[in-house]
């Protein structure tokens, strides 16, 4: 079943001369890890705002077409109801955290929903353990490092037990090692808890290997949609100008040179290393 689906979706922000997204029809199946990428201003963030109802409920503008989240028509359901299904993690955790302790931040959404105390305790603890923020529970979020803050932001979304988590460039403020840790936390949520992940990213070198589905947007439209191994090797991907991982590019260049590399196209350095080792050993 599609957990998120849009049908001929066009959205124009109030006062804007032209639509930010045009005739977008796409499906995201339950349990997928979907990467949404494309040049800046292509409509990625606008599309994500539709999934949990920020569009049309919070932003003023003109909406045509339909958004279905978990079968619910987003236009007909309030954001607090949709928040139970779709959690959003922003680029900069500073914009998301505000409580005096990590634990209170993680509990905030549940308090608002009026979840019983015992249940709240259980869900908050679980969310903190999964994101490895349990030991930080009494610390004020603003004193934590960027990576720790972003894990707290993910914990507070996780405590709501949404079916879908949407993350909009969640690691761009983080050092590479902290970024890697965040992506691994997200990947584990997807694999072990079957949470559907939608990740908006430019940096495919870091993320393509986790994805089972990729949507490339360009000028407000879906330009490419499919399996990352196929989409990222297409000439269209290079023409649109997305950052195809270096391992994938190296594979393409060597294939053009007539080097016979076997297997599916690599998305990570690990996959490319294995392939090259094969060729270099059996030459």
């Amino acid at each position: 079943m599609a957990i998120i689906e849009t049908q001929d979706l066009t959205y124009t922000y109030s006062g804007a001369a032209k639509p930010s997204i045009t005739d977008v029809s796409m499906r995201i199946e339950q349990g997928e890890f979907t990467l949404i990428t494309g040049p800046s201003g292509c409509g990625k963030t606008t599309l994500c705002r539709c999934f949990n109802g920020l569009i049309p409920h919070f932003y003023q503008g003109e909406l045509k077409g339909k958004i279905l989240t978990n079968g619910l028509n987003v236009a007909e359901h309030p954001t607090h109801e949709l928040a139970k299904h779709v959690g959003l993690v922003f680029q900069n955790p500073e914009n998301q955290l505000f409580a005096l302790s990590v634990e209170k931040d993680v509990a905030f959404g549940l308090e608002n929903l009026g979840v019983p105390r015992q249940e709240m305790r259980r869900r908050v603890d679980e969310a903190m353990k999964i994101t490895e923020t349990y030991d930080l529970r009494d610390r004020p979020p603003h004193e934590l490092s960027g990576g720790q803050q972003q894990r707290v932001a993910i914990a507070s979304v996780l405590a709501m037990q949404p079916e879908v988590i949407v993350l909009d460039e969640p690691t761009s403020f983080l050092d590479p090692l902290s970024a890697k840790k965040i992506f691994e936390v997200i990947y584990n949520l997807n694999r072990t808890m079957a949470i559907t992940v939608i990740l908006v990213e430019h940096r495919l070198d870091l993320t393509a290997k986790y994805a089972s589905h990729i949507i490339v947007m360009n000028e407000g439209k879906v330009a490419l949609d499919g399996n990352p191994h196929e989409v990222l090797r297409s000439q269209d991907a290079l023409l649109i100008g997305i950052g195809v991982p270096k391992a994938t590019r190296l594979f393409e260049l060597l294939s053009m040179d007539g080097v016979n590399l076997s297997g599916t196209i690599p998305l990570s350095s690990e996959e490319m290393t294995t392939m090259l080792k094969e060729v270099l050993t059996h030459r």
């Binding site: 040049p39 460039e169 050092d175 100008g241 270096k246 190296l250």
Partner: protein, 277 residues
């Protein structure tokens, strides 16, 4: 030239952000400062235009001691683009934003007009000339902040995380622009977590950890040394990872270790395959 000598800086809350840092950046150099969140990277570069003053030690910018020189005077020569553009933007339109500093520095109106048009064009912002910066996307606001500094043509340019929110094409433009600055003998200092971008630019890399430098040298050397990088929470770029890994698994091939560039990697692998088959 920018020189720090035994630079210490402690924030009012007691956090010791810099612990005796000595570094020299010559005119016309392109330097990337990398390292863990909280290593002191931004604190360091804020000393270069006098936004912060040393707690102990010395910072000299073109032989001027920053503690004895006004920010106004320093900033004419050292342009600073913040990590978060919202800390920098305040005007009603993109055009006003870019012309603000130019007018402050007392340029003629026709020079202001020329520089604004030039900067808008350079950063693909011409269509937003009359738009409010605040309705633009994060990546676009970042470019407005950059344009407003480039417009006054400072001798040294400091860019704090310039690639955040930028797509591949914008990054490529930024890279070409920095190369152009190099040919004009301008000094460019970036603070960046973006290893792939830094690998493509191949600048001098200063690696910081806990308020000190732990490595300083050519990108190809620093970014292909996983041990030192790990101390600074940095991961090698993909091409370097492939060569490090292959070098470890196939020691007899004598693979060149310091490889971080895609096209260089292609040539080296081709050569090995051609030479031995």
């Amino acid at each position: 030239m920018i020189e720090t000598k035994d630079l210490h800086f402690t924030y009012p809350n007691g956090v010791e952000a810099l612990r005796g840092l000595t570094v020299t950046i010559r005119d016309g150099e392109f330097v990337a400062i990398m390292g863990q969140n909280g290593a002191g990277k931004t604190t360091l570069v804020k000393h270069f235009n006098g936004l912060l003053k040393p707690t102990r030690g010395q910072v000299l910018v073109d032989t001027l001691d920053v503690t004895k020189t006004s920010i106004a005077k320093l900033s004419r020569n050292v342009g600073f683009v913040f990590q978060n553009p919202d800390h920098q933007l305040f005007s009603e339109t993109v055009e006003e934003e870019i012309s603000f500093a130019l007018r402050n520095f007392g340029f003629n109106e026709d020079v202001v007009e020329n520089r604004v048009t030039w900067a808008l064009n350079l950063l693909s912002l011409t269509q937003y000339r009359k738009t409010s910066p605040f309705v633009l996307s994060g990546g676009e606001r970042k470019r407005v902040a950059l344009a407003s500094v480039l417009a006054w043509d400072p001798k040294t340019l400091i860019l704090d995380e310039p690639t955040i929110g930028q797509d591949y094409q914008q990054k490529e433009k930024l890279r070409q622009f920095i190369m152009q600055m190099e040919t004009q003998e301008k000094t460019v200092i970036i603070v960046s977590h973006d290893v792939e971008f830094v690998a493509e630019c191949n600048p001098r890399v200063i690696l910081m950890q806990a308020g000190e430098t732990i490595a300083d040298g050519e990108a190809r050397r620093i970014l292909s040394d996983p041990g030192t990088l790990a101390e600074a929470s940095v991961i090698p770029p993909q091409i370097a990872q492939i060569f490090i890994e292959l070098g470890g698994q196939l020691p007899k091939l004598n693979l060149p270790k310091q490889t971080i560039d895609l096209y260089e990697a292609r040539e080296k692998i081709r050569k090995i395959l051609a030479g031995k088959t």
